[in-house]
Amino acid sequence: MHRSRGATDQSTSDPFEGIGFLVYQPIPFIDQMFAVAHLPHSFLERTHQMPNVALLAEVHTVMVEIGGTPIRLYGESACFLSMARDRYIGFLNPGSRPRIDLRVDVVSRPNADQEDLRVVREGGLWSAERGDFRLDWDPGSSSGRLQLELNAYSLDTALRIMHTIVLAEQWGFLLHAASVVRGRRAFLFFGPSGSGKTTVSRVAPPDVTLLTDEISYVRRDADHHMAYGTPFTGELAKSGENISAHIAALYQLVKAPANRLVPMNAADAARALLGNVLFFAEDPHLVTLIFQSVCDLVCQLPVYRLEFVPDQTIWDLIQ
């Protein structure tokens, strides 16, 4: 379909080839990837690490700060709080003022009948539930309650949900992507499971700092898009560093026989990125915000299709 050079010049009008549109059935806003069975290992099998000494005095409280958003977890279960401290060891900041206060109660199968994740806002209150946890959260009072099984991945899921909601209002989102910092700039590598996020992270040279090999934390701060480290790990099972950097570029990962970098236009980049944004809530306002955030990002940052051989030579293209 070609547009005519001028609406008044009928001789130059183009043939009509129909009114076309493409429908991409619901952009997944991936949630199934967080099923407990897909996660790499059980926290409870991990060896205990040396706890942060400063936290020993606060046995019943853990302040987890990811992306500059502190969430205070408190409760009576010492086992849970010990688990949380270990799980988020690089992301604890007991001196922060909490953005959200979350009372945590450990229960067995809090939602036995709710297999699929459901996140809704009703009467101004957020609720998220799945078989292994239930989260109720009042943004007005910045407080809530989390009931869950003693499982780090249930906690991971609940925190990710809260962050997606908080981030949406801040022109940010979580992306199914690995991200790293090199030369003080952040580079993001996005794609579905199996696309090579962990591989890219694993073969990174020593001057590269890992932010995450699985879930990237993206937010626009002032005039820049920033990437933050997260403790959310993929197959690498290694927490990211708790640092941030301006995003320099994003890459859609595609395995290929040779390394090649292909610039994407904004339209293709938006289509590709939207399919990798993590969002769980059935909320029109926030869906709109995330859509606009992704469109803004692809207009401001370079996005490439990165065809790559899964070895360290890929890093020759990332500068």
Partner: protein, 105 residues
Amino acid sequence: MKGCYVAKSPLAASRELDGEVFIMSSVNSTLFTLNDVASLIWKSADGATSLQEIVENKICAEFEVEPSTAFADAEYLVAELVGHGVLLVADHPIEPPSLFARKKS
């Protein structure tokens, strides 16, 4: 449907990227991309211009097409987008939601 009016739903977000119109349904996260002709209808869907006017004054003015063919295609597009909740249709002009809200208050 000739005399009907069409307007963008407040439950749809749209952006033009590289000349391509993207529409996101905020209800179910369905993404639509439109070709040139469909984009013209979308951009013209202001609630005040009838579908017939859009077809005659915009589409037929810019593309080589018989009005009857263009109108049949336009009807199909409108029905699809209305079905997904991103377009509103009525047999009278549609006030923008924001103006409507202001009047009520």
